[in-house]
């Protein structure tokens, strides 16, 4: 069986130095000059997700968080690096073995309306992956689809409805049911609640969390919404321009974020409390283009702690004082006593 060892201490998913680059342009001029511009969507990402764990990936648009999810599932081919699933290297897996592997790794998409076939009934949508993977016969697939509908909190009345006959929240439940149809071990959820209304968002979040513990799923949750991440995540990875700048447990990051970007992100999130308004000045600058990235640490043009070395060298991702890993020259590493490093004074 291709699923390899089922060791509880081995990561379900691991990526090593994963890079995904997109060539852009390719017009006449570049053919003459021989220069090919490249978007560095992922630029050397390494991480592991342990069984039953939820890793949340946060970052702004262009950070590469969606590309990471898609590359791990090999919906996007990596440029270099390795992806392993349950101990097996799946980076170069051929078409047929990859298809078999996909049974165990599924995805929930951001926009439920654009990720379903509108001409199919809800049960057919849910049964589709089983059909693709040749699981069961028509009758058993139907029965299983009904079971899944119920699992995501929709009763049998919904079975014959079409996507336009249900609300966005209900359709997102169908999206989740479909992802669960092949009984996957690993689920990538890419902004699954971003297109939903506040009152419905909580329903879907609770459902995902319940299913995760009931079915023992391992989850990669991609989001820009910190509050939602804080609710589901065991660990959090913060991405900026194709790299992980900080990764650690939820508690580590929330109680003491180490990277200046993580700090800026946490401070910038609007808070639902009018008495705290205007307390935090807005962070400066914008995310630069992923084609012409700043030299050294990509965050240095926006960073209040930037030093000369930050313009020259990209900092390594290392364990910092809080216990999490961060890539920052200005934050002392865990081995060095905190007193030995002089932090530059932050202008107030």
């Amino acid at each position: 069986m291709p699923s390899g060892t089922q060791n509880d201490n081995a990561p379900v998913v691991g990526v090593q130095n994963l890079k995904t680059h997109f060539p852009v342009g390719g017009g006449l001029l570049s053919r003459f000059t021989g220069k090919q511009e490249v978007v560095h969507a992922l630029d050397g990402v390494s991480l592991e997700i342990m069984p039953g764990q939820t890793l949340a990936v946060i970052g702004e648009s262009g950070s590469g968080k969606s590309t990471l999810g898609r590359t791990i599932l090999r919906l996007q081919e990596p440029t270099s690096g390795t992806i392993s699933f349950r101990g097996q290297d799946v980076t170069r897996l051929g078409r047929e073995p990859l298809r078999r592997q996909r049974r165990k790794m599924q995805m929930v998409f951001q926009n439920p309306y654009s990720s379903v076939n509108r001409r199919n009934r809800l049960t057919d949508i849910i049964a589709e992956p089983m059909l693709v993977h040749g699981i069961g016969d028509a009758a058993s697939r139907r029965a299983r689809a009904l079971e899944l509908l119920e699992l995501v909190g929709l009763n049998a009345d919904f079975a014959h409805r079409y996507p336009h006959e249900v609300s966005g929240g209900q359709l997102q439940r169908v999206g989740i049911a479909r992802a669960l149809a092949t009984e996957p071990d690993f689920l990538v959820a890419d902004e699954p609640t971003a297109s939903l209304d506040v009152s419905v968002r909580a329903q879907v979040m609770n459902l995902l969390k319940d299913l995760k513990s009931e079915l023992g799923l391992t989850l990669m949750f991609i989001s820009h919404d910190l509050a939602v991440v804080s609710y589901v995540a065991d660990r959090i990875a913060v991405m900026y321009l194709g790299r992980i700048v900080e990764i650690g447990t939820r508690q580590q990051l929330e109680s003491a974020p180490q990277h200046p970007y993580t700090q800026a992100l946490f401070k910038a999130a609007p808070k639902p409390d009018p008495r705290r308004r205007g307390k935090e000045p807005a962070p400066v600058g914008e995310v630069p283009s992923a084609i012409n990235r700043p030299s050294g640490c990509h965050y240095h043009p926006r960073c209040p702690l930037a030093m000369e070395v930050c313009r020259q060298e990209y900092p390594v991702l290392e364990v910092k004082v809080g216990g999490q890993q961060a890539a920052c020259h200005a934050v002392p590493a865990a081995e060095v006593p905190a007193g030995a490093v002089t932090l530059p004074v932050v202008p107030a």
């Binding site: 702004e60 648009s61 609300s167 966005g168 929240g169 209900q170 209304d197 506040v198 009152s199 419905v200 968002r201 909580a202 329903q203 979040m205 609770n206 820009h224 910190l226 509050a227 939602v228 804080s230 609710y231 939820r250 929330e254 109680s255 800026a264 992100l265 946490f266 910038a268 999130a269 609007p270 808070k271 639902p272 409390d273 009018p274 008495r275 705290r276 308004r277 205007g278 935090e280 000045p281 807005a282 962070p283 400066v284 914008e286 995310v287």
Partner: protein, 339 residues
């Protein structure tokens, strides 16, 4: 204090607005009952979920809807003039002149094949008769500077050469180009932006309103944005106003069960690990015929059969605002706390 009933000072006043669209020959009411008043320098938030009618209300006020959409109102008065009596030429000058709008998606709000400079100059030609043609570019650069963009050498650039955040700033500069501007309507101005950029744009908008004493109506689905920005808040549900309150009362003493449940549904950050409160059901569709309160099916604080029988009117509540709930006026208010 929170209820602004001093008509002398309000710059925009809308009463009894009703707007319907036509879908497959049938009328679909999008806004069933809407009123609003804003004073100079005041930021009023218009909150609701999709289908609540908040964007339609805004478009109706600005006169952007054309038949078969139908807009009816008791009054839409901007600085003493009823907008419904304006000729089409007069409304063209009013739009962008005294009242301007900022849209959600900056990329689709500009013509992609025109330079930023040429699009900006067109607006100045219409709304800045005080300027000579030769003064346009200097004025554009000055306006762009006001929103934090160095426009020198960039007027011949096309929209795609700017980032989302920059385009949103440029749109704000365009909207504020009239010297006569009194009211700014903003429809989800930061929804398509990243958090760090959102914080910058909100800061910019707040500064502009204070500096130029502009009244602003800010449509958003995000209560955190309301908390950051607004003085007064109007909560809409299924085409009706269900609560009007000043921002502190809204967050500290919400009166309508919908507002209370909406606030409960926002996850805190950092999260305490408690299970999220989830509202049951979803927003009813526009053409659903509901007798009684439109929120009754999802309400945690149902009073009794009257909630399903008669629609509650918007009346003064104990917190000094307005709320449309049968419980309002009865004490103790919504003491029942559900898990």
């Amino acid at each position: 204090m929170s209820e602004p009933v001093s008509p002398a000072t309000e710059v925009l006043s809308v009463k009894g607005l009703r707007t319907s669209y036509e879908f497959r020959g049938a009328k679909v009411p999008a806004v069933k009952e809407f009123s609003l008043s804003v004073r100079p320098g005041e930021i009023v938030g218009l909150v609701g979920e999709s289908g609540s009618g908040k964007s339609t209300a805004l478009k109706s006020i600005l006169g952007m809807l054309k038949p078969p959409a139908e807009v009816q109102a008791d009054e839409i008065v901007l600085d003493g003039r009823d907008l419904r009596s304006l000729s089409s030429e007069e409304s063209r000058r009013m739009r962008g002149g005294e009242m301007a709008m900022i849209f959600q998606d900056p990329i689709n709000s500009f013509n992609p094949s025109w330079t930023i400079g040429s699009q900006f100059r067109r607006v100045l030609r219409l709304h800045r008769p005080d300027l000579k043609r030769s003064e346009y570019d200097a004025e554009i650069i000055r306006l762009l500077k006001g929103v934090g963009i160095d426009g020198r050498g960039k007027l011949n650039s096309y929209p795609f050469q700017f980032s989302q955040g920059q385009l949103q700033r440029i749109m704000i500069a365009v909207a504020c180009s009239s010297t006569n501007l009194k009211v700014l309507l903003a429809d989800e101005p930061t929804t398509s932006l990243d958090v760090t950029i959102e914080a910058q744009v909100l800061e910019l908008l707040r500064g502009l309103c204070a500096q130029r004493n502009l009244a602003m109506v800010l449509v958003t689905h995000d209560l955190s944005v309301v908390a950051e920005m607004c003085d007064k808040v109007i909560v809409m549900y299924a085409g009706r106003v269900v609560e009007v309150a000043n921002v502190y009362d809204l967050f500290e003493r919400p009166q309508h069960p919908y507002t209370q449940q909406l606030l409960k549904a926002i996850p805190g950050f950092p999260h305490d690990g408690q299970r999220l409160y989830a509202m049951r059901g979803s927003v009813p569709s526009l053409d659903e015929k509901i007798t009684g309160c439109t929120f009754a099916a999802r309400c945690d604080s149902l009073l009794g059969p009257q909630c399903h029988a008669t629609a509650p009117a918007l009346v003064a509540d104990d917190a000094g605002g307005l709320a449309a709930c049968h419980r309002v006026g009865r004490t103790p208010l919504l003491a029942k706390e559900s898990a």
